[in-house]
């Protein structure tokens, strides 16, 4: 190890060589090389974490660049893990980087996590977050949880016992995985680019604090951070005891993480051409489930407005049409609506969802 590289943190009182050696000897896995993953990876690599694993199956796109600061315009279309590994290795050639260009799922999660001492969850969906939580709880791996929404972030450290030897996990806060579309993600909701930068950097700080045994770790606390007001709010988490975690790898593989509506095709995903053709058929009801403030407004008298937040009312009415088509901004909330209506009407009606949403088919409206 080149001590000169880490000199400014080694000289820090309470840190020193022992802490630096702990960083060098540790292996940290960052799942998701996105808005949270990029800044976290930069600081973990710079700080000298000996081995860093990166999991992400996605490629760089233009709309990533305002917050995913490891990537440049030239990287568009390339695998995030490959670009990230290259940049980090340039920053710090002394560390080892393992890349996993896969989507984390039930079949690979145990094998990938097993090798690492600390896991940082910077994914962007509940399916991955619940899977990672359950796998970390099963393997007793410290999990640094970081998530963002709009202008706010949530942070926690799970599976690390406190002074009373009590540890908690994500299911102690939210025992049941929300359905897809129930809570909007970045693509649906928008996000200020600097927010995951701040939250991802705090997450990296928690990793470094935990490994070096420095400071007060965020154990059994959920911290909210609002980037606009600058306010933080910390809540004590206590064990909930009314949920079941998988206790073995087999039990984990039997859990359902992907939204059930994706697995069982209770409705049909269509493109704009099929939508047009359906609109010309009799007995078809097209419903826009976006909230009233969303743009672009569709000035089509044959499209009914029924925002997700008011969908309950529509569910209570009796729809006479045989075919119901749901549309929304990106085709995610419309899946939830399709699922809810399938639950009510079963196979007595044909239910459709516009794949990719209005954004994808903007020219067709």
């Amino acid at each position: 190890m080149n001590k000169e590289r880490y000199n400014r943190q080694i000289m820090l009182q309470g840190f020193g060589m022992p802490a630096q050696m702990r960083l060098t000897g540790s292996a940290v896995l960052v799942i998701g090389a996105g808005g949270l993953g990029c800044p976290a990876l930069q600081y973990l690599a710079a700080a000298g974490i000996g081995t860093i694993g990166i999991v992400d199956d996605d490629v760089v796109s233009l709309s990533n660049l305002h917050r995913q600061v490891l990537f440049t315009t030239e990287d568009i279309g390339k695998l995030k893990v490959e670009i990230a590994a290259k940049r980090l290795q340039q920053m710090n050639p002394e560390i080892s980087i393992n890349t996993y260009a896969v989507k984390i799922d039930k079949s690979n999660v145990i094998d990938i996590l097993n090798y690492y001492d600390v896991i940082l969850d910077g994914t962007d969906n509940f399916a991955a977050r619940y899977l990672i939580n359950d796998a970390c709880a099963l393997l007793h791996k410290p999990l640094i949880f970081a998530a963002v929404s709009g202008c706010e972030g949530q942070l926690a450290v799970f599976n690390v016992p406190d002074n009373q030897n009590e540890s908690t996990n994500y299911r102690d806060i939210f025992p049941v995985q929300p359905k897809e579309g129930e809570i909007p993600n970045c693509a649906e909701n928008g996000i200020l680019g600097v927010l995951p930068g701040v939250i991802g950097t705090i997450a990296a700080t928690e990793v470094i604090k935990f490994i070096t045994k420095t400071g007060t770790p965020l154990i059994n606390k959920l911290r909210h951070y609002n980037i606009l007001s600058g306010e933080q709010y910390e809540i004590n988490i206590s064990p909930a005891n009314h949920y079941t975690l998988p206790k073995t790898a087999t039990e984990l593989s039997n859990m359902e993480y992907e939204d059930s509506c994706k697995v069982s095709q209770n409705y049909i995903e269509i493109d704009a051409k099929e939508l047009k053709s359906l609109q010309n058929q009799p007995s078809t009801l097209v419903i826009d489930v976006r909230e009233r403030h969303e743009f672009p407004k569709l000035n089509d008298p044959f499209i009914t407005q029924a925002p997700m937040s008011e969908l309950e009312e529509l569910l209570n009415q009796n729809i006479t049409q045989e075919k119901i088509v749901f549309i929304c901004q990106h085709g995610i909330r419309s899946l939830s609506a399709a699922e809810a209506f399938h639950e009510k009407y079963g196979n007595t009606k044909k239910i459709y969802s516009l794949k990719g949403g209005i954004v994808k088919w903007r020219n067709h409206f």
């Binding site: 998530a147 963002v148 929404s149 929300p178 959920l222």
Partner: protein, 77 residues
């Protein structure tokens, strides 16, 4: 009685953080029912309450001037 309500994420879009005058009630379960009546968007949504910065796992006694935080799960990355 009066409570201080602190809301987060999507919930703060329809339920602002505020001092709130509520009918007298004895516990957080009753408060949940009351809040869901006042803010119907909460119904069917996943959220968690914290009473005076402690997460509510089972119904807790509610007192005048208590602080209630209400938060949804975040998934963004």
């Amino acid at each position: 009685m009066e409570i201080q309500l602190i809301s987060f994420g999507k919930i703060s879009e329809f339920m602002e953080s505020q001092k709130m005058e509520i009918p007298d009630m004895s516990n957080t379960d009753e408060l949940k029912t009351y809040l869901e009546q006042c803010f119907p968007k909460l119904v069917g949504m996943k959220y968690k309450l914290a009473l005076n910065k402690n997460m509510v796992q089972t119904s807790q006694e509610l007192k005048n001037n208590d602080t209630i935080a209400i938060m949804p799960p975040f998934s963004g990355g």
